[in-house]
Symmetry: C2
Subunit: 654 residues, 2 copies
Amino acid sequence: MSTKTSEVDLLIIGAGPAGLMAAAWASRCGLNTRIIDEKDSRIRTGQADGLHCRTLEIMDSFGTPSIAADILGEACVIKEIASWNPKESCEEHIERSETIRSGEEDLPGSRYPQVSLSQGSVEQAFLNFLERDDNSSRVERNLSPAKLHVDEASVEDNDAYPVEVHLRELGKYETAGSLEYTATQEPIKEIIRAKFVLGTDGAHSWTRKALGLEMEGDRTNKHFGVMDFIPRSNFPDIRISCAIHSSAGSIMTLPREKGLVRFYVQLAETSDLGDNFDRSKITPDDIINTSRKIMQPYTLDYSHCDWFSVYTVGQRLAKTFSHHNRVFLAGDAVHTHSPTMGAGMNVSMQDSYNLVWKIATAIHTGNREILQTYNTERMATAKELIEKDRAMSEFYCQGPSADSKKYKDFREGFRDFVSGVSVTYGPNMLVSSAGKIDEDGNEKMTNDDTGSGEIKHDKPTRRKDSQQSLPQIYSDPKLATGTTLGQRLPSYHVTNHFTAEDDHIHRAMKSDGRWRILLFPGDLANPPRFRSIRDLGAKLEATSSFINRCTPSDQAIDSVIEILTIHTSNRNSFNALDLPDIFHPWNDKLGHDYWKIFAKNNEVGDDIYKSFGIDEEKGCLVVCRPDQHVGYIGSLEDLETVGQYLERILLPKR
Amino acid sequence: MSTKTSEVDLLIIGAGPAGLMAAAWASRCGLNTRIIDEKDSRIRTGQADGLHCRTLEIMDSFGTPSIAADILGEACVIKEIASWNPKESCEEHIERSETIRSGEEDLPGSRYPQVSLSQGSVEQAFLNFLERDDNSSRVERNLSPAKLHVDEASVEDNDAYPVEVHLRELGKYETAGSLEYTATQEPIKEIIRAKFVLGTDGAHSWTRKALGLEMEGDRTNKHFGVMDFIPRSNFPDIRISCAIHSSAGSIMTLPREKGLVRFYVQLAETSDLGDNFDRSKITPDDIINTSRKIMQPYTLDYSHCDWFSVYTVGQRLAKTFSHHNRVFLAGDAVHTHSPTMGAGMNVSMQDSYNLVWKIATAIHTGNREILQTYNTERMATAKELIEKDRAMSEFYCQGPSADSKKYKDFREGFRDFVSGVSVTYGPNMLVSSAGKIDEDGNEKMTNDDTGSGEIKHDKPTRRKDSQQSLPQIYSDPKLATGTTLGQRLPSYHVTNHFTAEDDHIHRAMKSDGRWRILLFPGDLANPPRFRSIRDLGAKLEATSSFINRCTPSDQAIDSVIEILTIHTSNRNSFNALDLPDIFHPWNDKLGHDYWKIFAKNNEVGDDIYKSFGIDEEKGCLVVCRPDQHVGYIGSLEDLETVGQYLERILLPKR
């Protein structure tokens, strides 16, 4: 009997949040994708529940109907965080020490708050998205990978499908997760030959084990109970997030959707109990009883326990996130830590968000070198996550903090990271260098993104990187001091030139695989300025321009690189339809694209020039990668360098 | 052969916007409903396309996932309206005279803009809503009513199903709309016996004809071409709404979704052409050619015509909107006019939004007198619509206005009405009287809502209205001068006491059939104030309270009348969980309802006390009907009058 064999661009193993994010992104990038999961449904209760503003930005960027809107319709918004400590006059009772704003929506250029929602509902929002999208793959369930083989001879061949994965269907009496990584004797249902494979199969990742990769790190002896329940309590802060420290122990609380609340309750350190701590014996009543002691004088009871678990604090990281730049790992498969920061699901989804557009570019251009930036960019982020988590766990286990300023600084420090907006990728092929004009600390940065010892595993060995001999590309970050090379562009309000609608600039930067050049020409009502931008448009749409060279001839001029223009003029002071078509390309079915020219003036009162640190007289251009991270900043006059920068990445190699 | 017979609470004939609104509302009110339509699908192109802020408020009020959000994801927002007139220096060319904000979102207590979207997409948003909602009916298509009979002997019997409607399935070769109102010889597929029937079957309403009702009014001799198309033009205001007057004629424009633009183009007056104007000979090219002359010196061409039509200006109104308070008519079935205001679809949907909750109340309480308010409330609105439309049509046909202030005043005058937020229902059973303390003009108002000669048809004749002998109920509108009796409550931001989330108070006033008492107690951190509101809560939840008397004993205390409290205190200054349960009722599955107590302080900076004209020291209570219209305003001390007011409407008659 011959086994069915299929070829795909991308096979995703595991349909949790990171895998589903990859599937959504792959559909937007036009990849031929399969996504499999050994479970027969999405998870129903418990697990991760924190969502931060950068994650919601990404979810919204996939377009209408918005995954973010879907989630915000159900999720619980975390607006405040309170700190409760022992009462001075009565040590057994707690009192509120301080209430602070959670404030992720107050971060520079951010527009979403921190929210909480069960992982199952987050998965459902993605499943709804995939269901509505005709181009996307659907999750294939009850399918388990049985063998993974990478044909090393063809990993450098752009037309090859070098990764072979054998799939088994789970039998009626098998349970997901019970399969060992061994060649099984059961019949193989299908063989998938993939250009690329992404393993998003969780902390016990089959894919990681198949690659022979170990996790490195430790567990502590600190145990916490986690419980999602309907509380009956007169504790006044039951619907905001709290850090409660009392003489009886610590609790962290997080309000949740549908009247639920999540408690993280400090249970014990192993040494306290000898080595006899037995996680399996902990019950919901134990967790509530411990909580009740900590929360004196407030009452606490519950009518329904939705989910509970016990975890031991620990942090672990894989040595590498990729194998020959053909098999990649993301999420819990390569980094695990404690859940109290509510960061894990976010970092995991952001892993695959970092990767998928690079795979699409590699397939379309033959330029696979860019794939090594996945490992460097995301491993640095994972390391920071793990350091932060270690610090936070220690902080919470220490108990009441006498120094509330220290507490506040600490929370703010990790808020910026956890929110996702401060994640910054160092210089590499996709992020130009700040160059000599940068401050001291940055001078060490180079475009060599394989410099770290840890990622040697991933360095292409058989083919000399032809790009390494190319000259370094330097940005001029002084032209937009409110943006950061390698960081996601902050978002501010602008007014659509044609429709007068106010919206965030991010809303014009959809995740559809395109690169974007944001032009900041200043005042176009000034005739010389108008003429110079008209001439710039003519250059950009010339047959020999880098835009035309990077765009397949059968595709629209804005299908690979899109131009967005943000001027400072009164909208009625010049006729933008007199600018060249590249600023508002024509399409027979949809007419002109009126959604590419904006005025900085808007009713909200944001000033995007000021916020981005752009001089209205000088102007500048900012190039954003398909994931909205800033790749290049330069002057309006120097089209040559921006062309060089983009052609290295986007010019087809064949 | 016996024909299948079914019984329903409500049969809706016609699944256009008004019928679909009724179906959505009926599902939220728990009515057993059927909705039929003779067409085999929703409309695909053309027809109505204007949506105004009150309509979007209503759509959002049905809850998550929001119909309004669905529509806003697709619709085109109308931010600006420009006026173009002949250029002084060159009469053949037009120039921009003025640009004003459309500004519906700037109206008091409003939170939605004016938008445009094709009627088909609006219908689709409702169909999606019905599809997702397990309790709702689905549209049954290819079904045409063949006979309607009202059993007059049982119209006053609360248990009866006095309206019988025979249904025929449309055959393969029949076209929707081709059936005459005659008893047909074709077999009847089903007989529906309904408590109530709503005819939302359009300008040629079968239901209206079945009741023998005529439309009254006239047509003019003015003809307009309407066209939805993809323009290719250098006219700079092609993506905002314009009123263009030139020596060659007038155009009104409305930008639309998917790159479309709608033009209303003045074609001819019949007298100009003798009586030879033949609508059927007009082509899209004719409409564009006429437009091109009007829009000199700008270019105009088109790549795709989505829909076009020719209409003759006219206004017509039915004599009554109801028959024995058992069969009702709504939308185009009872009022038709010209489309240029973009109001028709809105007023039509608001007709059925006014009706359905009253039907639910009549069924649940046996109190059918309230149904006559449908006719009085909505006929008054329809008359205003028709007057406004007549004025607007004349205004546009007059051509260029020398007086731009007059134009502005005119637009603002009809904007308030068209937006839907200024619609005000006079005193009747459901709207208490402003009483003696009101200004002169209102002294004539009485609770007798059957006073108009035109609606005698609808006056119950067989049963003396027992309520007529009851004393009039008077509000004290001075306690909340920023609200208007009979008008929908404006919406401002408040902060949820427990979650710290800011949102519009409207978001807490979902369309679920409940009445709401909004309490404004001022500062609850003040102990005597806290005690008095605690005592008020105790009275409200007492077994003998009007709330308990109006609520079936097997239902939750907040299922008929809900209490919302908005205080002025710092949220951390008192423990709201120490207030009686009626302020945050307990439910075993969902815990306490933390979404009923709010603080006026919020990050947006709205002041709901100030905006509502409420004195923080005095406080007050405002009762809103299930459609958010203000029914009663009184002091916190006088529970007796509010009880009287609500018991008249909600106390079960059996």
